[in-house]
Each structure stands twice: as structure tokens, then as C-alpha cells.
Symmetry: C2
């Protein structure tokens, strides 16, 4: 499949998920959102699950690109930029509907290895990005020497998962989460005396 | 409906949700898990949604009972007991399947006001319980005077939501969450010098 077709199908999948939700979306409904016919979709993808796995991989790749923070920044600034990016989803049409569909897919993860692996990839990327910055900050003396990069990264992944679920249930990204997360990081890393909070 | 019938239907709903998941569960499947016929269920509940709202209220009431921590304990011990309870779901058969069904219901919250309200009730109860203990600890001088009860409580609710979603996707309650949450509370409340971590 050429990259234009792939991009068009991914965008159609996004629109179909927003319109119908995960449970009700079908290959036909995804085709309806594109200029392709259902036969074309079936030529490239065996099933709805297969297409949605491709879509999750597409989301993961976009996410990896978005969270790539300038390596030259000092650790505290890199971490700050990372928190800003992961807690500010891109402005997209139907963001709330989309986050709901992703939560539906999370609830399917126990039954679908492909979803589970791709969701683990996304969380794993956040984990590594945070752990890398924390390690660097500890090594250079910018952060507390007793900060454990994996502990901090694991907690951040939990917090992002929680912000996502609350976003869906409450309808808004909980507004205080970014501030709370940053305060937690400042205390854990000993920044509360050196780096201004805002 | 007498309380035995109600309890029997709630237990049947639990088993049916674990066996079939939220999307696939029906009044018939719930009846199949009980000694009642489908007609009896329809006599008491208009729809699957109506029955599941009653089930969420039943879960909420059980949860409120479980997290009722001895008021006479000092604030740090009450908080510790609260963290233990909320991050140690009761040993139940099919706990993983059940948590998955609850995540499916969270993903339905945007479309179903009854679910949204009941889920908000549960989170609201955690929020108030944490905020009350923190307030008391600040007033008595057991906690840092600059700790904000609502900020701490809101963050705890986010962390519990995150632990739930990760439990479903990864198959295990993330083992470090309880320790990380407690370390966060110790730092936020200034316990890290006074109260042993374990």
C-alpha cells in the first residue's frame, strides 16, 4: 500500500472511531469515511482488528514523534517539556470521542494480544523517555541523587493512564493534573528549591 | 424487591459481567447466572442499563463500607490504611475479568448519564475520604501546613484510575503503585522524616 493510501485509511479510521465508537465501528463504516470501497480495505486488512492494530501503530508513531524533546535542553527543562506534551493532547476534532474509543480499546486489551502489545509500546515509550531524563539529571547532579528513574517513570505512566480515564468519564482532561504531576516531580527530584514551578 | 432477591441479582450480574464482558452481557445472560427467569429481571429493571446502574450503586455502597477507616487512628495511619484498602481490591473470583468490565463501563460513561454519575460518586467518595484525613493532619500539625487537601485528593483519584486501567491492560495491578503512592504522600505531607515508610 502506498503511503498516501495508508494515511487516508488511518484518517478514515480516526473519523469512524469518533463517530461510532470502537464497539460499533465496522470495515464498512471505515470505508464510508474514506474514498475507498470496503473491498479495498479487505484487500489490505484481514479484519477490523487487523486494521485497528495498524491504526494503533500509526498513533504510536505519531506519539513518539510528538514527545521527542530537544536533547540539548537541561534535564529539568526536558522533563517539563515532556510533561507539557503528554498532558496536552493535540487539538483535534472530536478529541473527547476519540479518547473514549481508545479507552474502549484498552478494555479489549485482555482479549486481543495485538492491542495489548501496542498499548504497552506507547506506555513503554513514555517510561523510557522519563527514565532517560531522570537518569541524566541524577548523573549530572541536577536531580536528587536518590531519585530512582524507573520508579519515577512508572508512576508517571500510571498518572497518564489515570488522566486519560478521567478525561473520558468526566468529559474534560482534569485541569489540575499537569500541575500536580509537576509538583510531584519537583519534590521527587529535588527541584522545589532550584527551579521555578512555572 | 426484598434484599435477598436484590443480593442474588447483584451476584448474578457480577458473574455475568465476568463471563461475557459489558458489551455482550444481556438480561438473559444475567438471568442465566441466577435462579430467576428473565421475566423477573424485567419486572424489576427496565433495561440492561437500568440493572447495571443498580449494580454500580451496589458496588459503590460496598466500596464506601470497605474504605471506612477507624476515625480514632492518627491521620498518617488512617491515610496509610486508606491507601492499603483502595489499592488492594477484595480477593474475588475473576477479579481481572471484573476490572475489565468496569473499564468498559467507564468507556460508556460519556453516553450514559447514570454510569457517569455513579462513577463520579465512587471517585468523589475517595476524594472526600483523602481530603478529610489530610485536612485533619494539617490542622493537628501531623502533616505539612502547606499541604492542600483537595490537590492531594485529586491526585490520588487520578492515580487510582491509572492503576485500574493498567491493571486491565497489563493483567496485574502494577505492583509498585502502592509504594509510589505512599512515597508521594510522605513527601507531600512531610511524613518522610517522621513516619517509617513500611
Amino acid at each position: 500500500m502506498d503511503s498516501d493510501t495508508h494515511e487516508a485509511l488511518m484518517r478514515a479510521t480516526y473519523r469512524a472511531l469518533c463517530r461510532h465508537g470502537y464497539a460499533a465501528v465496522t470495515m464498512q463504516k471505515i470505508a464510508d469515511e474514506s474514498d475507498k470501497c470496503k473491498g479495498t480495505l479487505h484487500y489490505h486488512y484481514e479484519s477490523k482488528q487487523d486494521l485497528l492494530e495498524s491504526f494503533l501503530a500509526y498513533l504510536r508513531d505519531g506519539f513518539v514523534e510528538r514527545v521527542a524533546v530537544d536533547d540539548d535542553l537541561p534535564p529539568a527543562e526536558r522533563l517539563r517539556a515532556l510533561v507539557d506534551v503528554v498532558l496536552s493532547p493535540p487539538e483535534r476534532r472530536h478529541q473527547a470521542e476519540f479518547q473514549t474509543a481508545i479507552l474502549e480499546i484498552k478494555a479489549q486489551a485482555p482479549y486481543t494480544e495485538g492491542y495489548r502489545d501496542l498499548l504497552a509500546d506507547i506506555d513503554g515509550h513514555v517510561h523510557r523517555s522519563v527514565a532517560d531524563v531522570v537518569s541524566e539529571g541524577v548523573e549530572t547532579g541536577a536531580f536528587r541523587s536518590d531519585a530512582d528513574p524507573d520508579d519515577v517513570a512508572d508512576f508517571v505512566v500510571t498518572i497518564l493512564n489515570g488522566a486519560h480515564a478521567r478525561h473520558v468519564v468526566e468529559g474534560d482532561l482534569p485541569e489540575h493534573t499537569k500541575r500536580h504531576l509537576w509538583e510531584y516531580l519537583e519534590r521527587s527530584l529535588g527541584l522545589d528549591r532550584g527551579v521555578p514551578a512555572e
